[in-house]
């Protein structure tokens, strides 16, 4: 009980700084986006196939775009502070509803991709760190180079060509088949079947990253004095690697996982577009093209929220893994 008081205090301090940070993000985003040339009504009218000047004026008035810029931004910020992210100009729905309807598929995609990448990447990294000049180690190096430098949409298309067209194992796009399966198990299997390729594509970048990170960090740790001490004590190799080395080597991985979980939406934009995955990424992409300002701002706000929340959680997780942080 006594020990938890400073933790609570530091968490509270963190939350306060997070709120300030979010406010800053919000102001910056909205100023930038509202100040960009072109407005949503132009895009809307273009998509409708043209319109009369009267209709354009009417639409501008409906969406409040006829007001001065600073007023528009002011109204928007005021609404967000009250928990109202506004109304999508394109879908004519509250932005929160829109985001809620798209968040599921995106979370499914990024958690699958990120967790498999972390697990597989760490395993690969740990193995290759122990045998630095083995074939596996070289393979990991090449894989991480390729995965890190190849554009994600290219990887996606190549995987489709290989695993959907040449060897038709997985469907090319979408999240479900159109034949309308009714059972829950059938639905889950269907989604899982569609999930493999996009998750693999997104996961490959992170796999490259984590295998590299785990390898470097493991090599570093394995050379540390306390590992030599552990070995000298006569502990088994297994115990040295997994109990002493890995626990320390894993810290940077946790840090980056936390940071990246928030940022992974940006990677999801491209993957979701290539695979027609109905998530936040496609929504963000479309909103940019359509100048759907409230939706775009809503998604940006939501992702920054995710980033800070994940940072906070990482922080807490850190305290569990690394006892030194608790005391400092």
């Amino acid at each position: 009980m006594v020990k938890s008081a400073p933790v609570v205090k530091s968490v509270l301090r963190k939350i306060a700084s997070i709120l300030l940070l979010l406010l800053a993000v919000l102001v910056l985003n909205s100023v930038l986006i509202y100040a960009a040339p072109g407005d949503p009504v132009e895009a809307l009218v273009g998509e409708m196939g043209g319109a009369t000047p009267e209709l354009i004026a009417e639409l501008r008035a409906t969406y409040g775009l006829d007001r001065p810029l600073w007023q528009q931004i002011g109204v928007y910020l005021g609404n967000v502070v009250q928990g109202d992210l506004g109304h999508s100009l394109y879908y004519d729905q509250p932005v929160t509803t829109l985001i809620a309807s798209r968040i599921g598929p995106t979370l499914l995609l990024i958690t699958t991709a990120l967790f498999s990448a972390i697990i597989v990447g760490t395993i690969l990294g740990v193995f290759s760190a122990q045998r630095r000049n083995s074939t596996l180690s070289h393979f990991v190096t090449v894989l991480s180079l390729a995965g890190f430098s190849a554009p994600v949409f290219w990887i996606g298309i190549m995987l489709i060509l290989l695993l959907s067209v040449s060897f038709p194992i997985f469907p090319i796009s979408g999240m479900t088949s159109s034949d309308g399966t009714t059972s829950t198990l059938g639905y889950a299997m269907d989604v899982a079947h569609h999930l493999v390729l996009p998750a693999l594509t997104l996961g490959l970048i992170y796999l490259a990253f984590y295998s590299r990170l785990a390898r470097t960090s493991m090599i570093e740790v394995l050379e540390a004095d306390y590992i030599r001490t552990a070995r000298a004590k006569g502990l088994s190799r297994r115990s040295v690697v997994y109990k002493h080395a890995l626990r320390n080597a894993i810290l940077p991985i946790v840090t980056f996982a936390g940071l990246q979980f928030g940022q992974v939406i940006s990677g999801a934009v491209l993957v979701e577009t290539v695979f027609a995955w109905p998530g936040l990424g496609t929504l963000a992409f479309d909103s940019i093209l359509r100048r759907d300002t409230p939706t775009l701002l809503g998604i940006l706000f939501f992702s920054s929220l995710m980033v800070v929340v994940m940072n906070l959680l990482t922080d807490l997780l850190y305290r569990r893994i690394d006892p030194r942080i608790k005391t400092s």
Partner: protein, 535 residues
């Protein structure tokens, strides 16, 4: 006293009779196999914000919209007008009163009977809300419903293209009992949720991010139709993904497939996959180089002619588009009813172009250039506009004209530039749609020089042209009207109001085993009532 009414009424009577017979007994089309009931067809969509074609134009809304909603008539092969919700119609001698008799047992998907009040409501809604509402129905002064199944349109002046506009794509019959609640029609929630029409298919599932699924309307007013049980439209935005899905057969029927000529070659080599460029005549998708005529040097017609001599559209269509398109010869698509090939042609001749520029007062300057300009490239048809713009840039360089290409990052940016007239030149394109009054007049009418995209943004104004446009708009004799439009096309090309590029390469990709694909000039935007799957 009454005559059958149409844009081309001389050849219409036998066709109407044939169409009656066809819709009652035989499916239109050329398949030999006996059509059979059942099966599911997978098409695709690039995404839509509404399913109601009454408030939005374009293929994304129109393709499914024409299945969900019925119209008064359909437009069949060779532009013949066939009865649909209207079983017959007649026109007064002065062409100012049009009377429709409706099918009596037609019902909306929610079971409510369709009456003349729904027709009246729909026409008024389209007139007020559709982007072409005023050009289609601006002359409809009032609408009477003397009996529940009789509708009378009173016109202020004859509207020769009226019947073409009464199909589901442009004038869907909307349920008055659902929509007439005072809400703004363009934003009405029922345009997306629980959409009710009276067409051959009903909405089963509408998940805008993922898929639209339509199922057979069991109570469709045409007996034993449609043949298909369901049509699925998965949302596929990425063009490359779409090509792969077509190749693998995950999409069986793709009108407005958006493929490039290179993809076409690839798809043609796949067993079981077919491609056709039929079904785009009515939409009439043309491309052009639009020059801002307000400022020098493009205000000078001779400069424009020099440019026309430097741009070899024949080369463009043959080499750059692999011979899959034809050069444009004027403002109308070759598939339009009023198309005329008899327009001034500017031979590819760089020497002539150079000497014309010298004479026009644009000799090579000290910096080695005659002049320079920025050419905007819109974001919405890069597969066509980017190669065109790059070719123009190369040709202009040969004339010592420096062209800077400016690719729009998104739709809104380009629209803003062009509609505020803040540009020098842009690649552009538009639809004929199909009556010239809707799709062509807007580019030439002096009254339509507006800050609106796809109006007369280049600022062309000529009193003689205006006079011809006005005459063509109300001429009801088909041949006489055709003659006026031939003159208009010749004049547009003479004045070089725009420099026409090759027409669009629009293609439908489809799998083997689909019978009775629509042979309407509207192609995939027509109802798929008679489409069936072979065994």
């Amino acid at each position: 006293m009454f005559t059958i009414f149409s844009a081309n009424h001389k050849r219409l009577l036998p066709l109407i009779v044939a169409a009656f017979a066809a819709s009652a007994t035989l499916p239109a089309g050329t398949a030999f196999a006996e059509p059979k009931q059942g099966g599911s067809l997978t098409s695709f969509s690039t995404g839509y914000r509404t399913l109601n074609p009454g408030v939005q134009s374009g293929a994304a809304t129109g393709a499914p919209g024409s299945q969900i909603f019925a119209g008064l008539v359909t437009v069949e092969k060779d532009y013949e007008i066939a009865p649909y919700l209207a079983k017959s119609w007649s026109v007064s001698d002065d062409q100012l009163t049009v009377t429709f008799d409706l099918v009596e047992d037609a019902r909306f998907h929610d079971g409510v009977a369709i009456t003349g009040e729904d027709v009246k409501f729909s026409l008024e809604t389209v007139k007020a809300n559709h982007p072409f509402g005023r050009s289609m129905f601006g002359s409809v002064e009032s609408i009477d419903v003397p009996e529940p199944h009789k509708v009378v349109l009173n016109l202020s002046q004859p509207v020769p293209g009226l019947m073409l506009s009464l199909q589901p794509l442009l004038m869907p019959i909307m349920p008055k009992h659902i929509y007439d609640d005072g809400q703004d029609m363009k934003k009405h929630p029922r345009n997306m949720e629980d959409v009710v029409g009276s067409g051959p298919f009903k909405v089963e599932e509408n998940i805008p991010a993922e898929r639209l699924t339509l199922v057979r309307n069991e109570d469709f007013f045409i007996a034993d139709r449609p043949y298909l049980d369901r049509i699925a439209y998965p949302i596929v935005k990425d063009p490359l993904t779409r090509v792969l899905m077509l190749e693998k057969g995950e999409i069986a029927y793709a009108p407005f497939s958006g493929i490039r000529p290179n993809d076409a070659k690839r798809l043609e080599n796949v067993d079981g996959v077919n491609m056709t460029t039929d079904g785009y005549d009515a939409i009439g998708y043309i491309h052009y180089l639009e020059l801002n005529l307000r400022d020098k040097p493009f205000s000078d017609r001779n400069v424009r002619e020099a440019l026309a001599h430097a741009i070899d559209t024949d080369f463009l269509s043959k080499v750059i588009f692999g011979g899959r398109t034809v050069p444009g010869t004027g403002p109308l698509h070759t598939g339009n009813l009023f198309y005329s090939a008899d327009t001034p042609h500017y031979d590819a001749d760089l020497d002539k172009a150079a000497s014309m520029l010298d004479e026009a007062g644009y000799p090579k300057g000290e910096n080695g250039e005659r002049f320079s300009f920025t050419l905007d490239i819109p974001s919405w048809a890069p597969q066509a506009h980017v190669p065109m713009a790059e070719y123009i840039q190369a040709q202009m360089a040969k004339l010592d004209i420096k062209v800077e290409l400016r690719r729009a990052p998104d739709f809104g940016t380009w629209v803003k530039r062009i509609s505020s007239w803040d540009y020098e030149a842009t690649m552009n394109g538009s639809f004929n749609y199909p009556d010239p009054v809707i799709g062509m007049h807007r580019h030439f009418d002096c009254d339509n020089i507006k800050n609106v995209i796809w109006s007369n943004t280049q600022g062309y104004c000529d009193p003689e042209m205006d006079k011809m446009l006005d005459a063509a708009a109300i001429e009801t004799d088909f041949e006489a009207r055709k003659k006026i439009y031939a003159d208009i096309q010749a004049k547009a090309q003479q004045d070089l109001a725009m420099i026409y590029m090759p027409q669009d390469f629009s293609a439908t990709v489809y799998q083997d085993g689909i019978g009775n694909l629509p042979d309407s000039p509207f192609g995939g935007l027509a109802p798929l009532t008679n489409v069936y799957l072979e065994d």
